[in-house]
């Protein structure tokens, strides 16, 4: 047993030495052609790595040219074409997109993508979800409690990027104005039922004429119809926004969140995180602070993948399909609006 183990170790060592020798020979070769490769269209990086063939990594070491995007050969000039080999060493072309210096999502972004800090001028900070359209006009999508201060804002109010907690100032960092929000109905909030209010008025009149200082108020005992915590903001200048999700790239389409689906989000506080849809068709009570609780129907629940400040994050599947809008969570769960309800109530599309 020990002899077999030693043989395996020796083989592994031998393979490692061989690989080091190959790499040592490629490094100066790459150094001699790097400038030439980097000068070609779309090339953003060059390095040494294993070649990929038919989507699978091979054992062959190669010169890897990372490009912003792959283009058909017919669209490239002969001087921009990458060679298939350099002195017998294969090359490989990998599309990586544009490479940017890392910037935390709490910073100021222009253009600003989904996944970064944003907020109404009177809140702390939440997350810019994504960009949506209505009648050809561009809007920012996030939560009501991020863009509309949990019902307390007015249309036209300043939306800052980054949000106030992250240093956003009004008007210097104003990126948009509140355009519309879906009101949240809280349990215990004033009722709009005319019958209940009339009964309360009669009782309060009787109380006043009898000298009592006690009054009745008609309230909702539960929020009956909340489906989303969502709002739209109209950008001051559409060029200040980028139709991408920070760290994930562009949204491919929408999809229905299903049980067991792997999901991911890019958020202001916890950045890029992943999870799995654990429950669908969820009715859940959500606390909004100061004793306010709202009941939401038809929600998705994933495992813990967010914290305060991540609200408003777009939730995507692994193919970058948009499935929901993150808005709440506990130590164990993340609560997500179905994107179909969000789009339907706001009348928007991607």
């Amino acid at each position: 047993m020990k002899a077999i183990s030693l043989t395996a170790s020796f083989q592994s060592l031998k393979k490692g030495v061989l690989m080091d020798t190959v790499i040592s020979s490629i490094i100066p070769l790459l150094g001699s052609v790097r400038e030439s490769l980097m000068s070609r269209k779309n090339v953003v990086a060059t390095g040494i790595g294993y070649k990929t063939a038919s989507g699978k990594k091979t054992g062959e070491l190669s010169i890897i040219c990372s490009v912003e995007r792959k283009e058909p050969v017919s669209r490239l000039t002969s001087s921009d074409l990458l060679p298939k080999t350099v002195d017998g060493i294969s090359t490989d072309v990998v599309a990586t997109g544009r490479i940017r210096a890392f910037q935390p999502p709490t910073g100021r972004f222009r253009p600003a993508p989904g996944g970064v800090s944003i907020g109404h001028f009177e809140i702390t900070a939440g997350t810019l979800g994504c960009l949506v359209h209505r009648n050809g006009e561009l809007f920012i999508l996030s939560n009501n409690h991020v863009l509309a201060n949990s019902n307390d804002a007015s249309v036209g109010d300043a939306i800052l990027q980054p949000g106030p907690y992250d240093g956003g100032l009004n008007p210097a960092d104003k990126i948009a104005e509140l355009a519309e929000f879906v009101p949240i109905t809280y349990s215990g909030s004033s009722s709009s039922c005319p019958v209940a209010n009339s009964i309360a008025d009669v009782c309060n009149f009787l109380a006043s004429v009898t000298g009592s200082d006690t009054r009745l108020q008609a309230v909702h005992v539960q929020g009956a119809d909340n489906l989303v915590d969502a709002a739209l903001a109209r950008p001051i200048n559409p060029a200040d926004l980028q139709n991408d999700i920070h760290g994930f790239g562009s949204i491919a389409d929408t999809a229905e969140g299903t049980l067991g689906m792997a999901v991911k989000k890019s958020g202001r506080t916890t950045g890029l995180t992943t999870g799995e849809i654990q429950q669908i068709d969820v009715t859940v009570n959500v606390s909004y602070g100061a004793g306010r609780v709202a009941r939401f129907h038809d929600q998705l629940i994933a495992g813990a993948m967010s914290q305060g400040g991540d609200s408003g994050s777009a939730v995507l599947d692994n193919s970058n399909h948009l499935v929901g809008l993150l808005f709440a969570g506990s130590d164990e769960t993340t609560v997500i609006n179905r994107i179909q309800n969000v789009f339907s109530l706001l009348g928007v599309t991607l």
Partner: protein
């Protein structure tokens, strides 16, 4: 035979479930064998509430999870 779907059973049962102390959510999930179940979320352990939650609703199993209170983030 007109068997109700798990969504219909859940919706019919959730007003009573959500009226129990510390029940914060009712949804549809999967058990270890990938069977659909009704999931009741509790803010914290509550023996009296646990005793009042049935093991089955219609023909569907009910499982309880301690999820904590969900807060807007």
């Amino acid at each position: 035979m007109n068997m109700k779907t798990i969504s219909e059973v859940k919706r019919a049962s959730e007003p009573e479930l959500l009226a129990l102390p510390d029940v914060v959510s009712v949804g549809i999930g999967l058990d270890e064998k990938e069977n659909q179940v009704i999931v009741v979320g509790l803010a914290k352990e509550n023996e009296r509430t646990l005793a009042l939650i049935p093991h089955n609703l219609g023909n569907y199993p009910v499982i309880v999870k301690i999820t904590g209170t969900s807060r807007a983030q």
